[in-house]
Structure formats: structure tokens, C-alpha cells
């Protein structure tokens, strides 16, 4: 009964999404205010319906209703209840439902904020978001319905993939999807700009906070994904250039380019059509990411052949959304007036132009490496894979200059900056960065290397360059920093921290595979690891062999690690749980390989210096984005509303 209710709610959501799309667009064409006014209530209704559908599926999981095929495939009565709820988005069908629910949350937010927008803009944005929702709802209802029943119902479910039974999974996909879907708002604003033909400072002021919010979610989502892979995969790595990771990274790169380019468009009124194009691209890559990960095409293009309906629909949907927007772009974008002044390289807009080029080229390089194997396979060119060395080789030369630019970001002013001014403000940070960067690996780890030191110099340079501006402002005037400046500073410091983490962990991280019998002692990276043996542990839905390791530093015991080998009862799958001693300056990471003759095990020991800095830096950047969101300009919108509505109203709202 409950699943049928959910299914019915999905159908109603589709009807409301159709209304949300068609009626406001008709209203725009005919200048009818009554039709425009339909958009917001339709968005609210769609949110309620999707909320009901989602709750119905969650309820089916909670109550172990195995007559629902999706529940039977992804859950189990022995699964703890929080993993049963998280299992809602553990596979294809449910994650589509989550995607749509989050899209309707963003629509709801736009509808709630729409009083500060001109009515035609708000309605058009909601209509575009509604059309995306229509596409997803049709896809879900006709090819991947999570509520499909199966009879007879199995007595027990097949269990959630053990890889996904981790607290990281509970929050990682929702965050990532909030980011993906959030770019839909920027996309909808871009399409609205193309339809109405207006990209003015009001448009950018509305678009910026939405884009920044989406970017914050995506940053947190990607970071959590990396952290989850480190904890759960047992390989001690934080980024594998795996197609699934790349799928979330490409929209992040273009989204980052977009928030920078929006800044230029707001402040200087230039790069208008470029900004619009970036907004379209960011969303296109978000769509691509969603489908790549969930449609099975990454496992094999042949997965498409087993279910042609899904594959064909996805390609068609993609072609309509992206092809349609690019067509609209080609027709309408030339209308946006271009700036007449040339852009000086030594100006903030010049730097941001470079930033955009680097980011977009980096995204293109990742796209090439991710899609080429799929295309080659689909076209019968042979079975090829592209290894991580490709990504590292291309990515590092592209991002190193980018980080160098970050250091100068705050100091270099809009329009034009004299070289002397830059020099006088940046010589000290530069010298300090070089000095500290060379010393840091040596002081912290007692080692040094050219590449790692260069990375540290870059990271410290980014941090000091950002802080120089703050110090100057605070010392000069004793005023509160504007939130957007504070946000930018935090985000750029985060970049620096991240770069330092990456440099040191790649430069000096090490690992060792050893054979250890109970009582064995192994020295590695200055620590002694003692293996005491394994014991049998019964979990709620698994049994485990847990190893006991003691870690000594100069004879003092500093940690007790308990890596485990779990065998999940329902699926019989074996999973490695790593034992990690977390520290600000290093992680020690032990994972059990396989049981060898006698009581011996093959053991993997990792030393990961500064790895926490990677995630700390990324979170710092996300916090910077949050702080920028609270900037006064966005809150003052209410006051700005009156004149801007007057200005807009001449266009179409006077029916």
C-alpha cells in the first residue's frame, strides 16, 4: 500500500512538474501574469509530492518490505536501521529519487526567495528547473521505478553493498547531489538570461549566492568522497583518478571557474556570455556525472546493451538538455554587449581570466581521460584504460600556475594595477613562502625533496598572499572585514593548506607490505609496529577477524590499531576495515591483507604525513564559501528590489 502511495506521488509530481514548466513559459510568451504566478505553487506542490515518495521508499526500507524489488536488492533485516535508511540512495533507482527530491528542495528555495526577484525571472527559472525535473521523473517512472514490486516476495533481502556501509556514505551522496543539483539553479538562471536577453549586475547578484551555495555542497561532497575512499577502501590513498571520482570532480572544476567568472561579470560587466556558457557546462557535467556513476556505463558500455531503454533515454535527454541550451546560447548570446575596454593582464579580471582558462583546460583534460576509454570501447577501437600517471602529468602543470595566481588574487585590483604596487606588497610574502616552504618538510618530517618543497612554497605563498590583504585591511582601518573578502581569504587559505597536504603526502608518504606472525615487530617510517594476533568478532550483520597492533615511537606506545577483515553474512562479501591512528602531522594506517600459513597475515602499513591537511584545506574552502554567502549584499536584496522591479517590469509583466 505505502509503496503504491509513493508511486502515485511520483506520478503527481510529474504532472506538477509539467505544469511548472509549461504554464510559466506560456505566460512569458503571452505576457500573462496569472500564468507566471503558477510556477511557485507548482514547485511547492512538487516538493511535497517528492517528499511523500521519498518517505514512502524510506518507510519500505525501514519496514523491510522485500516485495519492493529495490528494497530486496539493497537491504537486509540484519542491517542496522540507519544503514537501511541510507540504503535508499545506495543504488541507481533510489539515488535518482534523492536527486529529484533535492532538485525540488532547490526549487522550493528559489520559490521562497522569488519575492526578491522580478516575477518573470523567478517564473522562468522555476520553469527551467521544472523541465529538468520532468526529464528525471519520466526516466524514473518508465525505466527505473524504485517502487516496482516483485512476487513472491523473498524472505530476506540481498543486503546493501558492504563498501557502502560506512557513515561516510550516509552523508556523501546527499552532499554531492546537493552540489550537482545546485548547479541546476545556475543553469536555470543562465537559460533565463538567454530567454530574456538580460545579463546585468542584478542578474549576477541573484545568480552568485546560488552558485556559491551549490559549490559549497559539491566541495563538501567531493571531499567526503575522498575521505570515505581513504577510510573504507583500505588502500591508503585519497584520490585514485577513478572515473567515478572524476565524474564529481569535473563539475567542481567548472563550477569553480563559474564562481570566479561571475565575480568579474558582477564587478566589471564583462565575460557575460562566457559566464552563461560556464553555467550551462557546469550543469551538463553534473548531469554527466550523475549518469556516469549510476547508469552502469562505467562498469561496461555493454551494461547499456542489456537495458537499451535506459541508455537511449539518457543519451536523448542529454542531447535535448545540452543541445537545446547550446542552440539557445548560439542564437541569443551574441546579443550580450561585450566590454569595449581591453582586459589588462595585471588586473584582477586578467588573473581571473587566466584562472578560468586553467580550470577549464584541466576539466577538459579530465574529461578526455574519463570518456575516451568508454568511447573507444563503444566504437570497437579496443579495450583501453587511462592510468593515473596521465592525470598527474597533465594536472600538476595546469594547477601549479593556478595556485601561484591565488597568492596574488587579493592584492591585484580591478581594472589595472601598477607592477610596483604589487611588488611592494608581495615581496615579503614571497620571501617568507620560499623560506618556510623549503624548511617545512625538513622541520616537520626531517626529509626534503625538490618537488615537495616546491609544492610547500606554492601552498604557503597562497596562504600568505591571502593573509597579507587581511592584515593590511585590519591594521589600516580597524573595521570588520566584508564577509565576501573574508570568505575569499578563507577559501584561498584552504587552497594553500590543501596544496601543502598533497605535496607532503605524495612526496614523503610510504607504504610497506609485510608478512607478520603474532609477536612480530616491524619498523617503518620511524615507528615500530607490533602484531599481537587476531581475534574473532561478531558484528550485527558480519563476522570479523580483528587484528591487534601496537604502535611504538621510541619505545613509547602511542596507539593501538584494530584493522579487521569482515565477512558479511548476507552476501558473503569480504571487506577490509583499516585501522588508522589519526594525527595533525601524520596518519599511521594498517590494513590486513590475507591470512597466510599458520597465524601469519600479510599486512599493509602506510605512513601518510599531512594527509589530514588535504581534507582540512578543502573544508576550509567550503567554509569560505559559506561565509561569502552571508555577505551583506545578498541580504540587502530586499531593499534593492523596488528599483530593479521597476526596471524589469517594462519587459513583460504588465498583462
Amino acid at each position: 500500500m505505502i509503496p503504491e502511495l509513493g508511486n502515485f506521488a511520483l506520478i503527481l509530481a510529474l504532472c506538477l512538474a509539467l505544469v511548472q514548466t509549461a504554464v510559466p513559459l506560456y505566460g512569458m510568451a503571452r505576457s500573462r501574469a496569472d500564468c507566471l504566478a503558477v510556477a511557485a505553487p507548482a514547485a511547492v506542490g512538487q516538493f511535497v509530492m517528492l517528499g511523500i515518495a521519498f518517505a514512502a521508499l524510506a518507510f519500505a526500507f525501514y519496514g523491510n518490505d522485500f516485495s519492493v524489488a529495490y528494497v530486496a536488492a539493497n537491504s537486509n533485516t540484519h542491517l542496522p536501521w540507519f544503514y537501511r535508511i541510507a540504503a535508499v540512495w545506495g543504488a541507481h533507482e533510489g539515488s535518482l529519487l534523492l536527486w529529484m527530491l533535492l532538485l525540488s528542495c532547490w526549487s522550493l528555495a528559489v520559490a521562497a526567495a522569488s519575492r526578491s526577484l522580478p516575477r518573470d525571472v523567478a517564473s522562468c527559472v522555476l520553469a527551467v528547473m521544472g523541465s529538468v525535473s520532468v526529464g528525471f521523473l519520466i526516466f524514473t517512472l518508465f525505466t527505473s521505478n524504485p517502487f516496482a514490486r516483485q512476487f513472491p516476495a523473498p524472505a530476506e533481502g540481498r543486503d546493501l553493498n558492504p563498501l557502502l556501509q560506512d557513515p561516510g556514505l550516509v552523508i556523501h551522496p546527499p552532499m554531492l547531489y546537493m552540489g550537482y543539483v545546485g548547479f541546476c539553479v545556475a543553469f536555470a538562471f543562465a537559460i533565463t538570461a538567454l530567454i530574456t536577453g538580460r545579463v546585468d549586475s542584478a542578474w549576477t547578484r541573484w545568480t552568485r549566492p546560488w552558485t556559491t551555495a551549490a559549490w559549497v555542497f559539491l566541495t563538501v561532497g567531493v571531499t567526503l568522497g575522498s575521505w570515505w575512499a581513504y577510510n573504507e577502501l583500505g588502500w591508503g590513498g585519497w584520490w585514485f583518478w577513478d572515473p567515478v571520482e572524476n565524474a564529481s570532480f569535473m563539475p567542481w572544476l567548472v563550477g569553480t571557474a563559474l564562481i570566479h567568472s561571475l565575480a568579474v561579470t558582477e564587478k566589471r560587466g564583462i565575460f557575460k556570455s562566457w559566464t552563461v556558457l560556464l553555467a550551462i557546462t557546469a550543469f551538463a557535467l553534473s548531469l554527466l556525472g550523475t549518469f556516469l556513476v549510476r547508469s552502469g556505463v562505467l562498469i561496461s558500455v555493454h551494461a547499456f546493451a542489456t537495458d537499451p531503454a535506459r541508455g537511449v533515454y539518457i543519451l536523448a535527454f542529454f542531447a535535448v538538455v545540452i543541445g537545446g541550451s547550446l542552440l539557445l546560447y548560439a542564437i541569443r548570446a551574441p546579443r550580450f554587449e561585450a566590454g569595449t575596454e581591453p582586459v589588462a593582464i595585471l588586473s584582477r579580471e586578467g588573473l581571473l581570466l587566466l584562472n578560468n582558462i586553467f580550470l577549464v583546460v584541466a576539466a577538459a583534460a579530465v574529461l578526455l581521460g574519463t570518456l575516451y576509454p568508454i568511447l573507444a570501447d563503444a566504437l570497437g577501437l579496443g579495450r583501453i584504460s587511462v592510468g593515473p600517471p596521465y592525470f598527474n602529468k597533465v594536472f600538476i602543470p595546469l594547477t601549479a600556475p593556478l595556485v601561484a595566481l591565488v597568492g596574488g588574487a587579493a592584492v591585484i585590483a580591478w581594472k589595472r594595477t601598477r607592477w610596483q604596487a604589487v611588488q611592494s606588497r608581495l615581496w615579503l610574502p614571497l620571501l617568507l613562502a620560499i623560506g618556510l616552504g623549503v624548511l617545512l618538510p625538513w622541520l616537520a618530517l626531517g626529509e626534503s625533496g625538490v618537488v615537495a618543497a616546491a609544492g610547500c612554497v606554492l601552498g604557503i605563498w597562497a596562504i600568505l598572499g591571502a593573509l597579507e590583504d587581511v592584515v593590511r585591511r585590519v591594521r589600516g582601518r580597524r573595521v570588520m572585514l566584508p564577509r565576501n573578502v573574508l570568505g575569499m581569504t578563507l577559501a584561498h587559505v584552504g587552497v594553500g593548506v590543501f596544496v601543502i597536504g598533497v605535496s607532503l603526502v605524495t612526496g614523503f608518504g610510504g607504504e610497506r607490505d609485510v608478512r607478520m606472525a603474532p609477536g612480530d615487530r616491524v619498523s617503518f617510517a620511524g615507528y615500530d609496529f607490533v602484531f599481537k594476533g587476531t581475534r574473532h568478532v561478531e558484528g550485527p550483520n558480519f563476522t570479523a577477524e580483528t587484528g591487534d597492533f601496537l604502535v611504538f615511537d621510541d619505545g613509547d606506545q602511542i596507539a593501538e590499531l584494530e584493522p579487521a577483515k569482515r565477512r558479511y553474512n548476507a552476501s558473503g562479501q569480504v571487506m577490509t576495515e583499516s585501522g588508522i591512528d589519526v594525527g595533525v602531522f601524520r596518519d599511521l594506517y594498517v590494513s590486513l591483507g590475507e591470512s597466510l600459513s599458520g597465524q601469519a597475515w600479510s599486512v599493509r602499513i602506510y605512513h601518510r604525513p599531512f594527509i589530514r591537511w588535504i581534507w582540512a584545506g578543502a573544508f576550509l574552502s567550503a567554509i569560505g564559501g559559506l561565509v561569502a554567502l552571508t555577505d551583506k549584499r545578498y541580504r540587502r536584496r530586499e531593499k534593492l528590489r523596488a528599483p530593479s522591479r521597476e526596471h524589469m517590469s517594462s519587459a513583460s509583466v504588465q498583462a
Binding site: 581591453p342 578526455l368 607490505d513 562479501q573
Partner: protein, 154 residues
């Protein structure tokens, strides 16, 4: 040419050179890091160059896995329908590695025709077999030569 024009030309030229450099960099790195997939019979037939890294896929032959007693070296043979290749690997094998299982390995072939693996992958699902391996386990007529309980379920 005015000053503005000259500056713009410089800018556009600079961008062009930069992009060309990036493209050259990317494409070189790309072509150097393409990993091709081969199956055991192709190696035995000598179709595979000796000093490039590539991927190999097949079934771990029953009874072939040998562990050294004092270090982490493992030897096993990897087979497709026609032939098998000896493989040597030092390190920790993945959780799902076992005899009769389809696996994919990365590495190079040495002069004796042995495959020296530096990475061994087994998929995280017992029913699932890498499509590359599933294809490798078919003979000329496209009929699978796997034991029936091992057929790929995808």
C-alpha cells in the same frame, strides 16, 4: 597597428601558445599512458611488446596459486580458453582473489614470458565479472569456456 591592437594580439597569441602547450602536454601524456588489454593466449602467441605496461585478464587456474613461505611473493597462472601465462606478484592480494576467480592485473611481461604484476584487481562482487575477462573467456565462436557456475551474470 595601435598600441591596444598590439597588446591584444600579444594576449591572444599568448593564450594560443599556452593552450597549444597544454594540448600537446595532455596528448603526449595521454598516449603514453594508454593501457591496452591483452589476454593470456595473445601473450603466449607473442603479440605483446615486452617493455610496456598493460592489463591482462583471465581466470586464476585451479591449484596454481603458490605462496612463498617467508615473503609476500605469490605465483599463479592466469588462463583464457586456449593458454595460460605464469604470473608473479609481490604484495597484498585483493579480498576477492581466489582460484577459479576472474581477475585483472596490471604489469609488464619479462623476457621469459612471465607476467610481472604490480597491481591485481578482483571485483567487489562475487557474481560480477569484469566484461574484459568475460570476453577473454570466449573462444573463436564466442562460446564461453568457463565452468558454468562461473559465467558472468551481467
Amino acid at each position: 597597428m595601435t598600441r591596444t591592437q598590439r597588446r591584444r594580439l600579444l594576449l591572444v597569441g599568448g593564450l594560443f601558445v599556452g593552450l597549444a602547450a597544454a594540448a600537446a602536454l595532455a596528448l603526449t601524456a595521454f598516449s603514453q599512458n594508454l593501457l591496452y588489454f591483452y589476454q593470456p593466449s595473445e601473450i603466449v602467441a607473442g603479440k605483446v611488446p615486452t617493455d610496456t605496461r598493460f592489463r591482462i585478464g583471465g581466470l586464476v587456474e585451479n591449484g596454481s596459486v603458490q605462496r612463498a613461505s617467508d615473503d609476500l611473493v605469490v605465483r599463479f597462472s592466469l588462463a583464457d580458453c586456449e593458454d595460460s601465462v605464469p604470473v608473479r606478484f609481490r604484495g597484498t592480494l585483493p579480498d576477492l582473489f581466489r582460484e577459479g576467480q576472474g581477475i585483472v592485473a596490471y604489469g609488464k611481461i619479462d623476457h621469459d614470458g612471465r607476467f610481472i604484476a604490480d597491481e591485481v584487481l578482483a571485483k567487489h562482487d562475487e557474481n560480477y565479472m569484469s566484461p574484459d575477462v568475460a570476453d577473454a573467456m570466449k573462444d573463436d565462436q564466442g562460446v564461453s569456456c568457463m565452468p558454468t557456475n562461473m559465467r558472468a551474470s551481467r
